[in-house]
Amino acid sequence: MANLPSNQTDIELPHPQHPVDVARALAPRRPATWVLSIITVVVAAQIVNLLLTNPNFDWDVVGQYLNSETVLRGVVMTLFLTVTAMTIGLVLGGVLAVCRLSDNALLRALASSYIWFFRGTPQLVQLIFWFNIGLLVPVLSIGIPFGPTFASIESNTLVTPLLAAIVGLGLHDAAYQAEIYRAGLISVDEGQLEAAQALGMKPVRVFFRIQLPQAMRFIVPPTFNSIIALVKGTSLVSVIGGAELLFSVKEIYSQTYQTVPLLIVASIWYLFITTVLNGVQFFIERHYGRGSSRTGSSSIIARFFDRRAAMRNLNRGMES
């Protein structure tokens, strides 16, 4: 053991007169990082330059149409389609998820078949299909199954582009949403359900008070993923003539041929809507993060609000 220093006096210090202190250590040299940073900055500068100097962007045209009446009507329609389809998706998706997790084999089979079909065919195909439902079922009627009918209406009269869009987007979204709910629900620890049952809670209460609130932490992030996908998915409705955002700008540029600036107008609005949704997501996630240490959120908004909360606590502490 002679070659192992047993105490400090055995180590030969290089400069005994200068004890080492790492507090003032320099950063390590990273030449590769420097090269890559320079390349990145040059590419970014080129993109900015392109955006500012390329006359084909027609930024003045973008400004001119950004809040024009036609475009704003398109934005409202896009929002309306998103909200209605989302509502159908959230509600029907919940029903489907509960059916898929049910003890009843018939309900499980029905829900599984629904999800299999609506997840397995393209959304665009479904939209066109609903718009043309009159080809399959010319007359829709209300009555006793296999018995007399009370009222009927021609499919082509009832199914406008708007209705086809709501039904098509909503039913498609429900299939995805069902799987998001199911993933969240089965992620809740079995012991939580047993503890609630042992306390004498009835099944409905166990579901809404114990299982669902804990599942929400796993449900919210993918749900916003799918809502944002839905916002952009509404642009497919332009194919069946629904006057949403993309359809509105198309209407303009088909006459003025200012294709690029008008597509930019649409993109700015889509980005605006999804940015607002990001903010909403942050607050909902924070609500369901109660009692957990890991919120997983370290975005700029999160840091801003965390700092504000810290300041509030500090002020409160100083007052008392």
Partner: protein, 256 residues
């Protein structure tokens, strides 16, 4: 002696063909503390979980007071399974403490305890909070009422879980290895609470590996092996004068 609060007769349970309980007969009287010992796989946890219907018995019967747990006798002599909602009502007279505490992480300590009295016993908010605070004081955690479960140590969480079970004033308390998930230094704070509870006259059925607790706090010790009750008696009878070689072997290995 008084009427037993828990009567288990001929209880059988099998999981996909494997017989875990092979005919269990056991009675627990009001005010009694019964400790169930046995090696893992002997069926002691399954027995406990059958009592409050977390597992559905395959045969035999379990009576808590005058309730046939999980079933209903019909006038023509048939027996019918109850729905989950009906079983929920039966479970209210049986409290349970789990190995992994299973406190609700999205609720504070106070909410965990007060929810039962509030929503199940329909107490007023003030009464539910008062009862919860009394119980929290009893388990020595009144100052942690507004903490979330994950901010507490394992021993503290288990004491909250005991308070939560007590809040519904159950006729019978089940403990499923309540100290097995704890760090060694946290075990005694939980067994102390349980011993005080036993001394105060609570009726308890405790599955445990804490032989010291069983000897000191239990009125009766039951030794289970391979799905049957091999032996039962007072702690002195089972620990010091066991009649069964299998019990003596278990005690020797556990005490080492």
């Amino acid at each position: 002696m008084t009427l037993p609060i828990l009567r288990i007769s001929g209880l059988r349970k099998h999981f996909s063909g494997v017989e875990v309980l092979k005919g269990i007969d056991l009675e627990v009287h009001v005010g009694e503390t019964v400790a169930i010992l046995g090696s893992s796989g002997s069926g002691k946890s399954t027995l406990l979980r059958c009592v409050n219907c977390l597992e559905v018995a395959s045969g035999g019967s379990i009576w808590v007071g005058d309730e046939l747990m999980g079933y209903r006798q019909e006038s023509k002599g048939t027996v019918r399974r109850l729905t989950e909602s009906q079983i929920a009502v039966q479970r209210r007279q049986v409290g349970m403490v789990f190995q992994n505490f299973n406190l609700f992480p999205h609720w504070t300590v106070l909410q965990n305890i007060a929810d039962g009295p509030r929503s199940i016993l329909k107490l007023s908010k003030a009464d539910a909070i008062e009862r919860s605070m009394t119980l929290l004081t009893r388990v020595g955690l009144a100052d942690r009422a507004n903490a979330y479960p994950r901010q507490l140590s394992g021993g503290q969480q288990q004491r909250v879980a005991i308070a939560r079970a007590l809040a519904l004033e159950p006729a019978l308390l089940l403990f499923d290895e309540p100290t097995s998930a704890l760090d060694p230094e946290n075990v005694s704070e939980v067994t102390d609470v349980m011993a005080a509870l036993a001394a105060s006259g609570a009726t308890m059925l405790v599955v445990t590996h804490e032989l010291g607790f069983a000897r000191a706090a239990a009125d009766r010790v039951v030794f289970m092996d391979d799905g049957v009750i091999l032996e039962q008696g007072s702690p002195a009878e089972v620990f010091d004068h066991s009649q069964q070689p299998r019990t003596r072997e278990f005690l020797r290995q556990t005490l080492v």
